[in-house]
């Protein structure tokens, strides 16, 4: 089942066009409420191409067993496929060692793992945790829990009205800080944050940096060594993989010092009543039977993305973002929220006089799927003094026609509401 080799050989011969790539996604071929589906909620969850679906079917049909503990053939097959998935992850983000890649259930668990394993060990009373103003709740709440428990403080890197971080006082904020937590790309605004600069300045003060990469990993080539951060967290289901799988990449030096997150099977070398010796990385952090199928599915998603090429995906999405931004601006009474100079393909917007939920319902009636709400980023909404936004988030398999249908739907919104 070497999809990757075949795909890469094909891709080398001729780049497949976007029409063909879109047709890899069976879910996009349906109609919703008598309209062709335009799926523009990719930041919430992306769709899976047939290759990934097939890989899951094949795993369940011919390979499934538990991993790392069987002498029999199926267990060996499952173990091999699972281990290969980890190798693919490591290659995809350019980790220096495969064992630095921990499988988790998703970005949220990855961050909680760091809050638990790193935070409890290295963050104490009066210490500071620096968090950006544009984080998703999953990169806020674990730190609030930890800060409450330890008596630590949280400092917030402010952001501008355009949705860009203001780093003027960042160096002062780093005094007494034990960790910086920042997303690579904002899920609510699309802002791409200057991770290399943040890491550079934090490291000068000896402060490690955790990056929430959930919204970056599907959109651009990510090289954790080049970014220089200490932890990088992401989810499979936002990068054409299944739900229930995610990754925490961490520097070996930190991971080795950290305490296990959960205890159980598969993470031990030996257990006696006198005491327990933990396994080495990465297994120390993977107690219990993992999401084997989902991990293998994630590996297939990586193969698929690489067959297109992350740089090509980034260029395509930049085209779609520019097209979408232009078309939305031609409509009066619409304001785009998040206007950073460097943006991923996320368009958050508000329509004067219409609540985002009503926009979402009317668009859905025309087959256009967007997210409406606070996007699990209430502090971002509070900062911008809006209750919620509607958000169209684009993936490489979207096309201009999806944006045209969004705009047509917005004309309906304006007509119905008389604005």
């Amino acid at each position: 089942m070497e999809f990757s080799a075949k795909k890469r050989a094909e891709a080398a011969e001729r780049p497949r066009d976007w029409e063909e790539i879109r047709s890899d996604f069976p879910i996009l071929k349906q109609s919703v409420r008598d309209h062709p589906l335009s799926y523009l909620d990719n930041a919430a969850s992306s769709q899976m191409p047939q290759d990934v679906i097939d890989r899951l079917v094949w795993y369940h049909s011919g390979e499934h067993s538990n991993v790392h503990r069987g002498v029999h053939t199926l267990s060996q097959r499952a173990t091999r496929a699972y281990d290969q998935a980890r190798e693919k992850v490591a290659r995809f983000i350019n980790a220096s060692e495969t064992k630095e890649c921990i499988f988790t259930s998703g970005t949220t668990e990855s961050i909680n793992l760091v809050a638990h394993g790193f935070g409890r060990l290295f963050i104490g009373e009066g210490d500071r945790i620096v968090i950006s103003a544009m984080e998703h709740h999953s990169n806020i709440v674990p730190w609030q829990i930890l800060a409450d428990e330890k008596g630590a403080e949280i400092s917030v890197i402010p952001m501008s009205d355009r949705g860009e971080l203001i780093l003027d006082d960042f160096d002062e904020m780093l005094e007494g800080a034990k960790l910086v937590c920042v997303n690579h790309v904002s899920n609510a605004l699309g802002t791409v944050n200057p991770i290399e600069e943040i890491v550079d300045r934090a490291h000068k003060k000896g402060v490690p940096v955790l990056v929430d990469g959930a919204q970056a990993i599907p959109h651009m080539a990510v090289d954790v060594q080049e970014l220089g951060c200490d932890f990088y967290a992401f989810s499979g289901h936002k990068m054409c993989g299944p739900t229930g799988i995610g990754v925490l990449w961490g520097r070996k030096e930190w991971l080795e010092k950290m305490q296990p997150y959960q205890g159980g099977g598969d993470m031990i070398l030996s257990v006696t009543w006198e005491g327990t010796t933990y396994s080495d990385l990465p297994f120390k952090f993977e107690a219990g039977t993992p999401s084997i199928a989902a991990a293998i599915g994630l590996g297939a998603a990586i193969d698929y993305l690489e067959s297109i090429g992350m740089d090509r995906i980034a260029r395509r999405e930049a085209e779609l973002l520019a097209y979408g931004t232009d078309r939305l601006q031609e409509l009066g009474g619409i304001r785009i929220v998040g206007e950073a100079a460097d943006k991923a393909s996320v368009i958050s917007f508000v329509v004067d006089g219409v609540h985002p939920h009503d926009i979402g319902t009317i668009l859905d009636d025309e087959g256009v799927a967007v997210r409406a709400g606070h996007h699990c980023a209430q502090p971002v909404m509070d900062r911008l003094q809006i209750p919620a936004t509607a958000r169209a988030s684009l993936a490489f398999y979207n096309q201009e026609i999806d944006i045209d249908r969004l705009v047509a739907g917005l004309y309906s919104v304006k007509e119905i509401f008389g604005v």
Binding site: G353, V354, H355, P356, H357, D358, T361, I362, D365, A372, G373, H374, Q378, M381, P387, A388, S412, I416, F417, G418
Partner: protein, 157 residues
């Protein structure tokens, strides 16, 4: 269902110009209604006399057109009613939204049947019912109604 059937003119009108909007200083009943998933948040105020008649009712807060119009039309309808009558209306309103109207309830609801289309949009039922449950919480001496968690408006069912 067409969107015009959901967003009827009367709903849009109440959304644009909500009636009885604002705080009620002399209220003796008050409760908040919130949907933490979408951020809709209303406060319902009522002034109830010794006989259990709702003399005045107002609301404030923010949310979508469905929830705001539901709140506005609710205040118009509920003024002068007894607590028992309000409870009957809430029950009828809920039955309409879940497609379980019983005999006589449609007549009881009258104008409020403009929200019947919401039943076709299950994800929006919580929007329409939110202010009603805040009212119920206020009348029954509670302080909070929520679409989620322990204050979940469907909790008892």
């Amino acid at each position: 269902m067409s969107m015009r059937a959901l967003y009827q003119e009367v709903i849009l009108d109440h959304n644009r110009k909500p009636r009885n909007f604002g705080a009620l200083e002399k209220a003796n009943r008050r409760a908040e209604g919130e949907n933490p998933l979408c951020g809709d948040n209303y406060t319902v105020y009522a002034l109830v006399d010794d006989q259990g008649v709702i003399e005045e009712v107002k609301f404030e807060g923010q949310g979508c057109a469905i929830s705001k119009a539901a709140a506005s039309m609710m205040t118009v309808r509920i003024k002068g009613k007894s607590i028992e009558e309000a409870q009957e209306l809430v029950q009828g309103f809920r039955h309409m939204l879940t497609g379980e109207l019983e005999g006589g309830e449609k007549e009881l609801l009258g104008h409020l049947t403009v929200f019947e289309g919401v039943a076709q949009r299950p994800e929006r039922v919580k929007c329409a019912v939110l202010p009603w449950h805040a009212l119920l919480a206020a009348l029954e001496g509670g302080e909070k109604a929520s679409t989620e968690g322990e204050h979940d408006v469907w909790h008892e069912e």
